[in-house]
Symmetry: C2
Subunit: 199 residues, 2 copies
């Protein structure tokens, strides 16, 4: 279990909100995950795409069965996901991505990714899927789509001892700023269409 799942600064309410996708009263504004989930719900409702967040993987150890319809999990543990969080299909294309936000203003720390997520992105690209990261700089209120082909070299270099983050300027140059609006809140498929499908 990777400890980054359990940041110290989170209280239990925020932590649960994260997993159950319900707004916490303590939250100011919406998280990137909220925005992506709401945009995906919009895409599904309009039949524009079928893209979903994968459930949080949980290792279930103990279940009580007080009644047929009310099994209660009494002991379980968070497991590390083996893939990225989001995938689905849009206009015949396989779409796969991870959504991450940082409070940094000058760079995006690569520690936000797990090694197996990068391995997963590599395999998706090899299978000719569309794989990318959605990266939000919360302080700047900017969210970028960065293609997996750009992400991987930064990751590889960081493993060889080079810098452990992607400079903001590089993301601005190599990535695509995603328009924010009302419906959908984060129209990342507009960018996907422009970048991957129209060409």
């Amino acid at each position: 279990m990777n400890s980054s799942h359990f940041p110290n600064r989170m209280n239990a309410r925020d932590y649960l909100a994260m997993f159950n996708n319900t707004a916490s009263p303590g939250n100011r504004g919406m998280s990137l995950e909220d925005d992506v989930n709401e945009s995906n719900a919009f895409y599904v409702a309009r039949e524009i795409a079928s893209i979903h967040k994968k459930p949080t993987p949980v290792q279930i150890v103990k279940v009580d069965y007080p009644a047929r319809s009310a099994a209660v999990i009494k002991e379980a543990y968070f497991r590390q996901p083996s893939t990225t969080d989001y995938n689905g299909v849009f206009a015949g294309k396989y779409i796969d991505f991870e959504a991450k936000e940082t409070k940094n203003k000058t760079s995006f720390p690569l520690a936000n990714f797990h090694p197996h997520q990068i391995e997963h992105i590599k395999l998706v690209l090899k299978q000719k899927g569309i794989a990318f990261a959605l990266i939000r700089f919360t302080s700047l209120n900017e969210t970028y789509l960065l293609d997996g082909e750009y992400l991987i070299p930064y990751w590889e270099k960081s493993k060889q001892g080079e810098r452990k983050s992607i400079p903001y300027g590089d993301i601005k140059k190599l990535g695509h700023l995603i328009p924010e609006g009302y419906q959908p809140r984060l129209d990342y498929l507009k960018i996907v269409k422009d970048v991957y499908i129209k060409l």
Copy 2:
């Protein structure tokens, strides 16, 4: 929460084995899910495809934090999945399916599917993804791939009061028998390749 998740005949050990994907000592032979999971692991290891089972969705209510690295879920509930169980990418194609087994010998009961799973399959087909069901007749030891385009009319008719199952003969005729072997145990991508990609 759909009660079909909690069949009376299952004991707690078998039930947990189902969710944690570990063989139960009480199991005779391997389940379809075991076979699919093992085949997917084979495909990923050989970089033939990236197809994964989605985690079981769980509504987390209470988490204890005895230590940073050992959060324990103390109360949670099974939620109904909003999609099929499996998806991924193979040779540039989006792949999406549900795997179901029946002890029946003469037909496959449509009650094995949830309405939202059928809606999901419809949307995937609309988005030009490949969507199908893997249907195993455990008594016959036969597993078929049945395309979503064939599945849907049977579902629609059953909603209009017609028969609530697909006859075995129809599945044999419309579907494709999947070869079983050693590695991968259930080579369903061989059929996907023949049916969807070579043509």
